[in-house]
Amino acid sequence: MSLFHKPKYSTVTVKKKDIPQGLWKKCPVSGEIIYNKELEQNQNVVPKSGYHFPIDAYDRLRNLLDIGSFQEFDADLEPCDPFEFNDSKSYKDRLKTYQKKTGRKDALVSGTGKIHGIPVSVAVMDFQFAGGSMGSVVGEKITRAIERAIEKKIPCIVFSSSGGARMQEGVLSLMQMGKTSAALSRLNKARLPFISVMVNPTMGGVTASFATLGDINIAEPGALIGFAGARVIKETTKEELPDGFQTAEFLLAKGLIDQIVPRTEMRDRFRDLLSAIYVGKQVEASA
């Protein structure tokens, strides 16, 4: 018998059509109801609670970069189905569904732009496309974004949001981890900055390659970041996971990331960081 009884409330049935869909969102942290427009104006961050809703890749770039500075590259790269992969659904069909849903050919947008006048090569993963998983296209586009940074002698920034490597491209997906990380070794050699931003969620093969290789590793507040999934760890170890396990805050305390930066402060933070580690250095180097 429970000590407390659930209070009974009278319920009012409301016809669904009376509430227009998509006008409001409920904050999962505070329960606060926020007008969508207000949320969008604040980059999908709930103003009071600071909860970060997902944001579309283009919206992120729009908020991050100087007006009119973005040029997209490699938007035409399209995934194939080299393994002719079929589980409950064929990979080809899955790709079509994701392409229709997102209007993108694969799970990443990349290009060049400026942040407070500082030129950058930037890539943003799209979690809406196959859970942001990394297959050949994502790996290739990230590698090109890094090579573009080397060619133009500019910093590279990657926003990760991914469940990990894409199973349907098998070992080719795994090899993208090697390819992107190898490109970062060349960026290192060129003494150019790599800033990695880990967005909710960043897991698996993405965490185990470029996402944790930043000169500066940044995370958005509350982001889930890890290698193995919590369920797998529980099943393997039969242990209780510590509070806040694999969150940005947990990993800041454990020393993996340099800073937790709210989305709304990202643009200015990049200016501050790049001013210190990049601006002026290239001129000195070439002088």
């Binding site: 283009y58 770039l61 729009r62 908020n63 970069l65 007006i67 009119g68 500075s69 973005f70 040029q71 997209e72 590259f73 938007a75 035409d76 790269l77 399209e78 194939c80 080299p82 393994f83 992969f85 079929n86 589980d87 409950s88 297959g135 050949s136 790996g139 290739e140 590698t143 490597a165 199973m167 491209e169 098998g170 070992v171 080719l172 795994l174 090899m175 981890m177 090697g178 390819k179 990380s181 190898a182 490109a183 970062l184 070794s185 060349r186 290192n188 093969g205 185990a208 390659s209 944790t212 290789l213 290698f227 193995a228 797998v232 760890i233 393997t236 170890t237 396990f245 454990k254 993996l256």
Partner: protein
């Protein structure tokens, strides 16, 4: 029962071996000549072996790669190299017993050899953490590889893991970052690196030792983005579909040769490497020597470029003809 043929698909062999044993017993106990029957069964065993092992499915190869008697890294190291000196520890946290490494000689040439080591007895299995490395293992491996780079020694790595350890401590000490750093740093080394996948090549845990100029695979090894069980659990929502997942993942050496993810398939003795460890080791040694000789002609810079180009070209995608078109998105609002 012969432990050698313990796998499901080896059942016909077990039956024949039992028959053979019975005949041997019959002949000694009753002093009757059954040699013609024995010869017939022996011939049947050979033909059955051939038919089983020449048509292995991906899942059957996965099972062979995990065979309890399969040679592990140290078995190969002891057969192939001379004077192995194990070097311990990551100089930071501990010595991961699941990744071993040290100096050794290959036909008189000094090399750094690093491998993932599984345990055979229960006690050793626990000591080796069931072949699932922790971050320290990867950091130790990198320390040794940097040493090899400093002293101009080729690096040989032996991969045999289902994956890096999914544990609390492993995450707290950043297993993902430990692997990632290895990927990046191995790419920049200026000595030859050769990797052999000797058993299981599971995901990032395998790749963390495998950014090599040449990647070789034992015939019954597998190399995959995820274990068949893991893939089945996620995509089929049923780990029992592992055999189907194994086929779909095209994880066998034969398949991976086609995708140019590995350079060479190293043949195993009939029925798997455990049937003749010395022979398997000899084949692997021959291939190591061949590739070391080829790589020996490259300069330090060329070795880095060779490795970079090897990984740079991996991936399958299409690109529209209007390649290089710049698509500006709408102007920013803020």
């Amino acid at each position: 029962m012969d432990k050698k043929y313990a796998l499901d698909f080896e059942k016909p062999l077990r039956g024949l071996i039992a028959q053979l044993d019975n005949l041997h017993q019959l002949s000694t106990e009753n002093d009757i000549d059954v040699s013609s029957e024995i010869h017939a069964i022996e011939a049947k065993i050979e033909s059955t072996k051939k038919s089983i092992y020449s048509n292995l499915s991906s899942w059957q190869r996965v099972q062979l790669s995990r065979h309890p008697d399969r040679p592990y890294a140290l078995d190969y190291i002891n057969s192939i190299f001379d004077g192995f000196q194990e070097l311990h520890g990551d100089r930071s946290y501990k010595d991961d017993r699941c990744i071993i490494g040290g100096t050794a000689f290959l036909n008189g040439k000094a090399v750094m050899v690093i491998g993932q080591q599984k345990g055979r007895s229960t006690k050793e299995k626990i000591e080796r953490n069931f072949g699932l490395p922790n971050p320290e293992g990867y950091r130790k491996a990198l320390r040794l590889m940097n040493m090899a780079n400093k002293f101009g020694m080729p690096i040989i790595t032996l991969v045999d893991t289902q994956g890096a350890y999914p544990g609390i401590g492993s995450e707290e000490r950043h297993i993902a970052e430990a692997i990632a750093i290895n990927l990046r740093e191995m790419a920049s080394l200026e000595v030859p690196i050769i990797t052999a996948v000797i058993g299981e090549g599971g995901s990032g845990g395998a790749l963390g030792l495998a950014i090599a100029n040449r990647v070789l695979m034992m015939e019954n090894a597998y190399y995959s983005v995820i274990t068949p069980e893991g893939c089945a659990a996620i995509l089929w929502r049923d780990a029992g579909q592992a055999p189907a997942a194994a086929e779909a993942l095209k994880l066998s050496a034969k398949d991976l040769l086609k995708f140019e993810v590995v350079e060479e398939l190293v043949e195993e003795p009939m029925g798997g490497a455990h049937n003749d460890i010395e022979k398997a080791a000899e084949s692997l040694k021959t291939v190591f020597l061949k590739h070391l000789e080829e790589l020996g002609t490259l300069s330090p810079e060329e070795l880095e470029t060779d490795r970079y180009d090897r990984f740079r070209k991996i991936g399958v995608f299409t690109e529209a003809v209007n390649d290089g078109k710049i698509v500006p998105i709408e102007e920013a609002a803020s």
